[in-house]
Amino acid sequence: MEAEQGLDATLKRIEAIVAALDSDSLGLDEALALFEEGVGHLRRAQEFLAMAELRVEELIGRGGEEVREFREPGQGDRDAGDDS
């Protein structure tokens, strides 16, 4: 799925396609093209759900202007082998 677009936007697009197919002002070509577009979105969304891995980031700096991968403070020490 379009990562920039997000799941919500993709689902909204499919909803819009469904609504269009429910109207009777479409030509057959148009209907089929929309249908295929919708099915494509569905398939990519399913892949996206299946492959996603959680990302946790944090805002740092006084005004939170910087983003970095979140690490729990002290986690580095434990990772260094101090797991007694």
């Binding site: 689902l11 269009a20 057959l28 569905l42 946790v56 944090e58 729990e72």
Partner: protein, 459 residues
């Protein structure tokens, strides 16, 4: 002063270190100046400072820190942060001071006439000779104490402004892309949220803004963290903290937090404390979750639920296409024989395209397509039923030449012509054997085959 008391009229006043002067004090020097004392001794004169110091030390050394109960009056919080008030009962008053360091921990100023118990040490303010209690703790006698008073007071303020109004609560986004979290970076609350979102909706991106969640100034930090996150590209913010005493949770009961939650442009979910702890943050938030984990569950849609939504959409896509096919069938039903043929070609073409599209699709969608193809076949069958063939079944016959053209009138039947009669169950070979036929009046009866063959008028 074996018992720790000081005889102000006999002993020397204490020095700056609190111990009696060993040089004998003012009296000793007076004696030195006047070695031959008269019969009336010169009275020993204390300085005011000496007296006050002596009394202060006496008070501080002889009375332990103690709890004092009474009604509060004239509570004043100075610009310096120090608080002054008087405790009184029916017959007596006691002046009290609470210095800034302790006073900042007071969640709210006590109300006039409130019954308090205060803890502190008695002393004398030497500069004014004022006897007073230096207070380190204040508790209200009423249930819930000062915390409840502060909570209720802020709550009524927020209620009056409508900030706790249920009608103000915003719906959470059904499928958030990015979730902001305000929490302590080392808290179990944060670990719980990360675990729940990772399990349910790993495609969601979490953005943490670390903050202190208890102690002096926590409220302001929490509020700032909410504003910072909300100004970023997040769809919803979770404010989280594990359980604790009311004092631990107090940051979430402070006005800046309430204001930041109310001002947030995106919905805020409050997951603070345990199920039984209700904070001001909970009341203003768009959703109050009982725990941090519950907050995460409320925000992150379950993968299975999303899959169901996708499947539902797939079915609706199929239905939409089927409706398109049906509406075409209805329109085909309205047109005649010619259009019938053309329509059938279109249906066949549609079916081919559906099959092609279907080959590229998976699962439910493909079965949906098969289903729709079957429907299209049904539609075709329905049209067959309305074709001229149904008229033939009523006993009519259609003469056709060997190229399948309809022989419409006398002039079409030239002598010697071989033709066939299309009847309901087949063709009958025929020939024109006689001389040229006479033309009669044209038949305009609506029962004529070429007329009733018009689909849509034939019923």
């Amino acid at each position: 002063m074996s018992d720790g008391t000081l005889d102000l009229f006999r002993d020397a006043p204490p020095g700056d270190d609190g111990e009696p002067r060993r040089d004998g004090g003012p009296r000793a020097s007076a004696q030195r100046r006047e070695p031959e004392a008269r019969s009336l001794p010169v009275p020993h004169v204390w300085t005011v400072r000496e007296v006050n110091r002596a009394v202060r030390l006496q008070l501080e050394q002889t009375l332990p820190q103690l709890w004092v109960g009474g009604e509060v009056t004239n509570f004043r919080r100075q610009r310096s942060g120090h608080c002054y008030f008087t405790l009184k009962d029916d017959t007596a008053q006691l002046r009290c001071v609470m210095f800034r360091r302790e006073a900042v921990r007071l969640p709210v100023d006590p109300e006039e006439g409130m019954t308090l118990r205060v803890f502190g040490g008695l002393t004398l303010y030497e500069a004014r000779g004022a006897f007073q209690l230096v207070v380190s703790k204040v508790e209200a006698e009423s249930e819930g104490g000062m915390w409840k008073l502060a909570f209720d007071r802020l709550r009524s303020l927020l209620d009056a402004e409508g900030l706790t109004d249920p009608g103000r609560k915003r719906a959470l986004p059904a499928f958030p892309n990015r979730v902001g979290i305000v929490s302590s970076p080392t808290s179990a609350a944060l670990r719980d949220i990360i675990a729940v979102v990772g399990r349910r909706a790993p495609w969601v991106r979490l953005l943490v803004r670390s903050t202190r969640v208890q102690g002096q100034g926590a409220g302001e930090e929490i509020a700032a963290a909410i504003s910072t996150l909300a100004s970023r590209d997040v769809d919803v913010v979770i404010v989280a903290r594990g359980g604790g005493s009311i004092e631990d949770l107090w940051g979430f009961n402070e006005e800046p937090v309430a204001r930041a939650v109310a001002a947030s442009p995106v919905p805020v979910v409050s997951g603070v404390g345990h199920e039984t702890d209700v904070t001001i943050c909970d009341l203003v938030a768009d959703l109050r979750a009982a725990t941090p984990s519950a907050a995460a569950e409320a925000v992150a849609p379950d993968r299975k639920a999303v899959t169901r939504v996708l499947e539902g959409l797939g079915q609706r896509l199929g239905k939409g296409l089927a409706a398109q096919a049906r509406s075409r069938r209805w329109r085909l039903d309205q047109v005649g024989d010619t259009l019938f043929r053309r329509g059938r070609r279109r249906l066949v073409a549609s079916r081919t395209r559906l099959d092609t599209a279907g080959a590229r699709m998976s699962g439910t969608v493909r079965s949906r397509i098969r289903h729709e193809s079957a429907r299209l076949a049904e539609a075709a069958a329905a049209m067959e039923a309305l074709s001229p063939l149904s008229t033939l079944s009523r006993g009519y016959a259609v003469p056709l030449d060997d190229e399948g053209r309809l022989l419409r009138g006398v002039r079409d039947f030239t002598p010697g012509l071989d033709f066939r009669l299309r009847v309901v169950d087949g063709n009958v070979p025929c020939g024109v054997t006689g001389p040229a036929a006479d033309a009669a009046a044209p038949v305009t009866d609506s029962a004529a085959p070429e007329e009733t063959g018009s689909i849509g008028h034939g019923s």
